[in-house]
Symmetry: C2
Subunit: 352 residues, 2 copies
DNA sequence: GCCCGTAGCACAAACGTTTGTTCTAAAGAA
DNA sequence: TTCTTTAGAACAAACGTTTGTGCTACGGGC
């Protein structure tokens, strides 16, 4: 069906190997005459020859493809990362196989296995957390891996992440500076490095200010909207309502917004809010949200660069890149109303 | 490095072909003894054999991979589509190579070529528009193609789109019913089928109501935020300002919001707004936006189904699936202020 | 006239599979 | 005993490349 080297060889009347060498620009190394060379080039052009990367991959043991394992393609944060990874990879001559784990560790394992079968040259992963043996296996097979956004400190491989501890401290400092003491934390998937580190940042900040931490206000099961929604609902109906919420992802914030609306609570008068992930719509919300912005594109580019360095340069060093996030202050944090601060609040049902 | 069939063969003491047949569950067809079979299965397990899909692909001329060409991975609409395509493809045993064209036709051509070299089994494309020879070539090579979201009526292949004409009519009817006569249209990439059809829907609706159309109010160059921003800026500074805006994508709307904010105009008091693509944050914006919602996930699933039917069932029929969009009415459309309707407006500089 | 050097290419193996065909030994039939 | 059948597997080719090595013929040196 498709045109092969031997089609060209037949047309020109030379052997397949000669054609191969010419098309790989190795004509001069094998003293192939100018004449033969141009005949072959012309024939390849005419037949619209397109090399079969599968055959090539088999022979060369290199597919020029990398895998990207993502927790949630539809999350704007990851979507931007994917776009940037795709772009960088393409620029360096690599195709990208994108996987979606849905934060499901079993699915992640399956995808990593599949990527191995497909013999992608390297892997960029934003891992679910919890388990890491599949990545360990991957590394033991001698294949490069770069962790992105989330990492395992125990894994001997490169990673590029944001300083989540710093980011969380910035966010919580901002809340505390505005007078908040009862702060609810809606975290992401508990085992994930980003959750863990951000939570540590929260706890340390509270401690630094000598503020008590109510364990009941530390909630959340994953990074998704639904989680943000139900956890907010629950936390708002506690006896002592928090005066502020620290959300660990853009989608969680989406759920928070939905819950607040349903409860008839207004941002920021009734509750203050700080979130991780600065999404595009943040400035245009009813109340523009103060957010921790991460250098998504930069992270993605570095990850690709690191991977390709390993693939092509044979750079075996384990590099740990940490970038600084930035707190974008908008309008979702104001001082709490005094009377609410310590009242047991069967909450006022709605101003809406 | 990696374990191959012959490693297993050597360990068990049989030939490669026998191992292959056993692992492909064809043992009984070739009367291989139960004993040999279980020996092989055990060995494969112990050695942690993972079939090399590259070799397999070469032999079988099937890679179990499909390509997805996307205009913009970071656009929430496409991000959701990608996620759903990924999910459906994975469910049917296919890996997904994702490309990003950035609405650049040359890049699209390049990506399609690359996908061909990689011998993906089939292609799902959300094409830029403008040119289609590369898809024609693809089809002539006998490879399946499914167009998604956007289509070419001249191309003999399956497609799944939304009824953009209907969606646009719904949107514009809503504006007209609220008393708007001067409506600005910020369209996407002019050649794209979605732009063309939505524009037709707009024009026909205006005509149906006997309303004049000011060509100067039909603007826009692509589906992105920047376009929405600058076009809104320009259109708002015309002598006769429109009383409403019809935006053709979520990202355009994002740009519109930004421009409105900068101009100190309030939604919906100063300008009404209807947009295509119902994004997640739409309900939580300062002014919740009325939007045309498309069944993204369904579209994606159908596209994958269509492609796989062609790949595996050999179904050669050209199927054209058209789904109905739905207008979600929120609060961004109100009747225009009377005095504004026909005054030349050196616009009031800001209420903010 | 003979040999050697070299230009210019062909040959063949290998990458890891799949699959049509062939081979071997043992069992059963005559 | 001899021939046929069959179970159980091995052999080998092919997919489309790449690449180390081998081959041939011509020209020049002596």
């Amino acid at each position: 069906m498709a045109v092969t080297l031997s089609d060209i060889a037949a047309k020109v009347g030379v052997s397949v190997s000669t054609v191969s060498r010419v098309l790989n620009r190795k004509a001069s190394d094998y003293r192939i005459s100018q004449e033969t060379e141009s005949l072959i080039l012309r024939a390849a052009e005419e037949l619209r020859y397109r090399p079969n990367q599968i055959a090539r991959g088999l022979r060369l043991k290199k597919t020029n493809t990398m895998g990207l394992v993502t927790p949630d393609v539809s999350n704007p944060f990851f979507a931007h990362i994917i776009k940037a990874v795709q772009h960088a990879a393409h620029g360096l001559g690599y195709s990208l196989v994108v996987c979606n784990t849905d934060e499901d560790i079993d699915l992640e394992v399956e995808h990593v296995n599949l990527l191995f079968r497909n013999r992608v040259d390297g892997l960029i992963a934003m891992p679910v957390g919890q388990r890491k043996e599949h990545f360990q296996d991957w590394l033991e097979k001698g294949r490069p891996l770069v962790l992105l956004d989330r990492s395992f400190s125990e894994l001997q491989t490169s990673s590029v992440v944001v300083d989540n501890y710093y980011g969380a401290r910035q966010a919580v400092e901002h809340l505390v500076a505005n007078g908040h003491r009862r702060i609810a934390v809606i975290q992401g998937l508990p085992g994930t490095s980003t959750s863990v580190t951000r939570l540590a940042g929260f706890l340390d900040t509270m401690k630094a200010h000598g503020l008590p931490v109510d364990k009941d206000l530390i909630v959340g099961g994953d990074f998704r909207r639904e989680s943000g929604y139900v956890e907010t609902k629950l936390v708002l109906n506690r006896e002592k309502r928090p005066t502020a919420i620290f959300a660990m992802s853009d989608l969680i914030t989406l759920g928070v917004l939905q819950a607040l609306e349903e409860e008839g609570l207004d941002l920021p008068e009734d509750v203050s809010l700080v979130t991780f992930d600065d999404f595009e719509f943040a400035p245009y919300l009813r109340c523009p949200v103060t957010a921790v912005r991460q250098p998504r594109e930069l992270m993605a580019e570095i990850a690709v660069k690191l991977l390709v360095d390993q693939l092509e340069g044979g750079d075996k060093d384990r590099k740990q890149i940490v970038l600084k996030p930035e707190l974008i202050v908008r309008k979702s944090v104001v001082p709490p109303r005094l009377e609410e601060n310590w009242t047991s609040a069967a909450h006022v049902s709605g101003t809406a």
